[in-house]
Symmetry: C2
Subunit: 215 residues, 2 copies
Amino acid sequence: MRKVRRNGGGRRQRRGGAELRSAILEAASEVFLEKGYQGASIEAVIEKVGGSKRAIYSHFGGKKELFSALVSEASSKVMGSLSPEDAEGKDLRETLRIVGLQVSRVLMAPTTLALYRAVMAEGVRQPDVARAFFERGPGRVSKGLADVLEQFRARGAISIENSQRAAERFLGMLRDDVHLQVVLGLRAPLDEAEMVRSVDQAVGIFLHGVAAARF
Amino acid sequence: MRKVRRNGGGRRQRRGGAELRSAILEAASEVFLEKGYQGASIEAVIEKVGGSKRAIYSHFGGKKELFSALVSEASSKVMGSLSPEDAEGKDLRETLRIVGLQVSRVLMAPTTLALYRAVMAEGVRQPDVARAFFERGPGRVSKGLADVLEQFRARGAISIENSQRAAERFLGMLRDDVHLQVVLGLRAPLDEAEMVRSVDQAVGIFLHGVAAARF
DNA sequence: CTTGATAGGTAACGCAAAGTACCTTATTGT
DNA sequence: ACAATAAGGTACTTTGCGTTACCTATCAAG
């Protein structure tokens, strides 16, 4: 009886097997995010990574599965740039400013924008891709913010019925026409200063609304 | 000397020339909006409309131009379903409710969703398409609402620095995670009752915010 | 009726790209 | 070292599709 060394998935290792896999994912990111799922070609990926198509079919199974893997990975990676602990112990306004700014930075990052485009287009036809993206990305963010809001609600700082929906509203304000125009390539992403102002405005509306104070 | 019958563009008419053109646009809508720009094929369009590919090249020039024409038309058509006059003479809250509900209906309509997906994906590569979509669609809506808000601001009903940005914020709240999930095909569009509740919530936040009243 | 022009149809070209059959080579257990 | 196994490479097949060259039928002008 032999001992077989296996890695996590139960697949045998070879010279740079795992390295090749992640190199493919890297190259696939570039190609798929630039051209979109349908516009991307396996050949273009291989051209970047060097090697042969066979490697992609061995490692992933096909174009669809490669895309799916890529989206999962990219969605998770994006989340890594968020650090909710930065908002610990702050008051509500400051918390919203910090979270809002972090989210805005993510939303305006080139990779996120490209991911957004690609997934929006293909999500309807590949439900697992849509789910992976949403649950690892926007869904996680709004859940996280909802938890925070819930704490403030419990303390009586805010009056809302549904923390989850409230969080989604706040985040929705960050994904407004400006973001849409950036996604469409109609204007450059906001720079840091613009983002700060934008977030401040959103926080202001979210906290107190636009109605003139009726004193 | 005979009179020459011409249509608007100065192009000679023939048996069903214009009818064919619009039939092509109709079929192209179905195909492009279902499959996306890159996934759609001229052949599929022609199969639906009957005739030959030559007709498309005569009328439009190519796949790109056909898509562009389609997006312009569809974007304008969508706007037709908005009737801002319904909000005339109402107070601020009621105005926002009416506008919000109309916009929500549009956002949840299958055609709009499909258009959204297709344009989001292809906009970066076809700037004229992105522009046509945005200016006829979302841009027009937010401009319209901005004008209304400006009137309320002038009357002192609301305190905001920038009506345009404020309008975009309100509309952004309608394009939140729920809308994203619908676009991604992860959940069914809201029905009328759900939309009403959703809009009411957004209006509430927009007007007074979530902060507990400090009396 | 003739003539010129053009919208529309037929069919073919050319290319890109997904997937695969087959071979090569590295790796691992004995 | 050697056999067994499987990853990785080469090159092909097949398919689908955008585009175009060429032809035909229709319509207006004289």
